[in-house]
Amino acid sequence: MSARKPARQHLRLLPVVPSVLLLLLFLAAPVLWSFHASFTNAALTGRNARNPVWTGVDNYARLLTDSAFPASVVLTVVFVVASAIVGQNLLGLLIAGLMTRARKPVSAFVGTAVVAAWVLPEIVAAFAAYAYFSKDGTLNQLLAAVGWAGTDWLYTFPMVAVVLANIWRGTAFSMLVYRAALADVPQDISEAALMDGASGRQRLVFITLPLIRSSIATNLMLVTLQTLAVFTLIWVMTAGGPSNTSTTLPVLAYQEAFKFGDIGYGTAIASVLIVLGLVFGIAYVRLLKGEHR
């Protein structure tokens, strides 16, 4: 028996082998390839297109001298903090909290309205957001109806526009996560606190939030990583412009790799993006761990 036990345990892992293989093939391999390419002068055309040579950390050294890069890092962090951590996350929690108290038809209606943006394919959502914020778009027509002259939002406030669009598109995810989490909070603890005279805010801060802490961390992790990778939405709405004022790292990487054909440099930017994702990821894992102390 004892000899068979480890064998049996290994066999238990068998069902996950295909998915692990697929992940390695389609996720790890491109990441590794991209990481490797970032140390070469790989290009779309020109002399280095088919026979790229190893250039060491040249691409990374160039990042330090490129004025577009730090600006892009700042914009990426602003985009993630404003649209994911603050926007989607808090708004999702708020809506989920309100929905647990709202009457059924109200909560069903709100739920559908919020999820509608989520089910749209990204490109459709991006065009919808473009049509909303563009100069002759819905927003300006609504403003005109009440006598306000709008502005060209995508040109004057490109970051605000893409942040709002991403909040609109992504809030549903946080809302769904928090609805499930809130449904799991035992009513009796809350009621006991109520008996002890805890106010609504106190119950939220001392009872509900600690209980759904792991959901918060998971949700933060997921929305952060999703938002870091947002490309289509920004590309369709502003294409990174005007004058790079909405060029986040994915947009910058795309421009360098495909518009200028400099795949080596583009993949170096993409690698920085992965590192940025790791930094956020580690922070959230810490948050999760804290719970088990």
């Binding site: 066999l11 068998l14 779309l44 055309t45 020109g46 490129d66 294409a239 412009g241 005007p242």
Partner: protein, 451 residues
């Protein structure tokens, strides 16, 4: 316990089977070959699609056993170039015959994507009808010819006579200096503040349009240049560069061009051709010789009155210095992939697509300037639209882009400079300095010439 294992084995073997069958390339039989043709098609550019469909019919009936597979890519010029380059990177995906921008020929030859055509062209009688400029367009740094042009183009000022006449400007109009353009534009603005008097593209959104149909007309008309042909170096610190930016600033600051927000919309050219010029909302625009292709019958923005309402003028030099005008030329070619398994057949297809009949149809449908002498002499070509002669005359003052592998970065840096100026972010002087710095960073000091 055994069941999952067996299932897994079954799954794995199925995967392996699938993978191997997908990987083993189908060996083309001698009698059953396919040629893959890749080209661009958009809602407003279908002339090439028509050309290839006709050529496919002709070619397949003459060459039994060979199948021509047409793979149009629906994308704008930039995205088409990217997709094509990605396909060319691997032998498995590289097309046999493809549509290639002249300014990409050299860098793609450097990359080893294109097949040298000299030995085929020697035996192709039609090649003698191509003019020298066209032959040069497909020539790489090693002197070999790698691409055959479909046609070429020039650029000039397209103006709406009615708008000019309303402002009391006599037509035909031919400004001699930059100042005369501004003067006329201000008069149009004064006569009707709602019109856009004189538009020149700017900013990154218009891509090559910003440089080909705007900035280079200015720069090449100053005493400075973009690239020193003798030294093979990019010029920085030139007065002409700053002057050109300053001219754009004046146009945009005085609201003589479209608003900066409109200029930074990638679709601005559609409004120029589709709305503003036909509706008399725009006085003039610097645009290509292909403009009539949008307005003629079957074009994307049919406009019956264009032949009477529109006029063409040469873009003047800065102070009227010699040669008195500036134009830019580009154009597209057909090329054959270096990895083509059937290069002989591929060339035959190329020759079919570019024979006199097909060339003529394409040249007329897309308002190209003919590169074949027999097409240029055809009455159908000369009568295609009233502007054929005007735009063909611009060939005498035209320039070509310095199409080295660094060119896309230079072009992008110019676009950034124009965008910074028209949005008021930088002064022309500052934008020119930033351009100089960018160029030094991007191509290295060794390839830069300080003026």
């Amino acid at each position: 316990m055994h069941r999952p294992a067996r299932l897994l084995v079954a799954l794995l073997s199925a995967t392996v089977l699938l993978a191997t069958s997908a990987c083993s390339p189908e060996q083309p039989l001698a009698e059953n070959r396919t040629l893959k043709i890749v080209y661009q098609k958009t809602d407003s550019f279908t002339a090439l699609d028509t050309l290839f469909k006709d050529a496919k019919k002709d070619f397949e009936s003459a060459n039994q056993g060979t199948t021509v597979v047409l793979q149009p890519i629906e994308a704008n010029d930039d995205d088409y170039g990217t997709k094509l380059a990605l396909a060319l990177r691997s032998e498995e995906t590289a097309p046999d015959v493809f549509y290639e921008d002249t300014f990409k020929v050299r860098s793609d030859v450097d990359a080893g994507y294109l097949l040298r055509l000299d030995s085929y062209l020697e035996k192709w009688d039609d090649w003698k009808t191509y003019n020298e400029a066209a032959k040069a367009a497909g020539t790489a740094d090693d002197g070999g010819i790698y691409a055959v042009p479909l046609g070429t183009d020039t650029r000039g000022i397209w103006y709406n006579k009615k708008v000019l006449q309303k402002a009391g400007i006599a037509v035909p109009w031919q400004p001699r200096t930059w100042d005369e353009i501004l003067e006329a534009a201000r008069r149009m603005k004064a006569a009707d503040p709602s019109v856009v008097p004189f538009n020149m593209y700017a900013g990154k959104a218009s891509g090559e349009g910003t440089v080909m149909q705007s900035f280079y007309e200015l720069l090449y008309g100053t005493d400075s240049e973009l690239y020193d042909q003798q030294e093979k170096k990019w010029v920085v610190g030139s007065q002409g560069f700053t002057d050109s930016l300053a001219f754009l600033k004046t146009l945009y600051d005085e609201k003589l061009a479209v608003t900066p927000a409109e200029a930074l919309d990638a679709n601005v050219w559609k409004k120029v051709f589709g709305e503003w010029l036909p509706q008399g909302k725009m006085g003039a625009v610097v645009e290509g010789s292909y403009a009539p292709s949008f307005w003629q019958k079957g074009g994307s923005y049919e406009w019956a009155g264009y032949s009477e309402d529109m006029g063409v003028a040469k873009f003047p030099t800065q102070r009227g210095q010699e040669p008195g005008g500036v134009s830019m030329s580009g154009g597209w070619t057909l090329a054959i992939g270096a990895d083509s398994k059937n290069p002989d057949q591929a060339f035959q297809f190329l020759a079919t697509a570019l024979n006199k009949k097909n060339s003529l149809a394409f040249t007329v449908a897309s308002s190209q300037i003919a590169v074949r002498s027999d097409v240029a002499a055809e009455p159908d070509y000369l009568a295609a639209n009233p502007f054929v002669k005007d735009v063909s005359d611009l060939v005498s003052v035209t320039h070509y882009r310095p199409a080295t592998a660094d060119y896309p970065r230079i072009s992008a840096a110019v676009q950034v400079a124009t965008e910074a100026v028209i949005t008021g972010k930088l002064s022309p002087q500052e934008a020119a300095e930033q351009y100089d710095k960018t160029i030094r960073d991007q191509v290295g000091d060794a390839k830069v010439l300080q003026k």
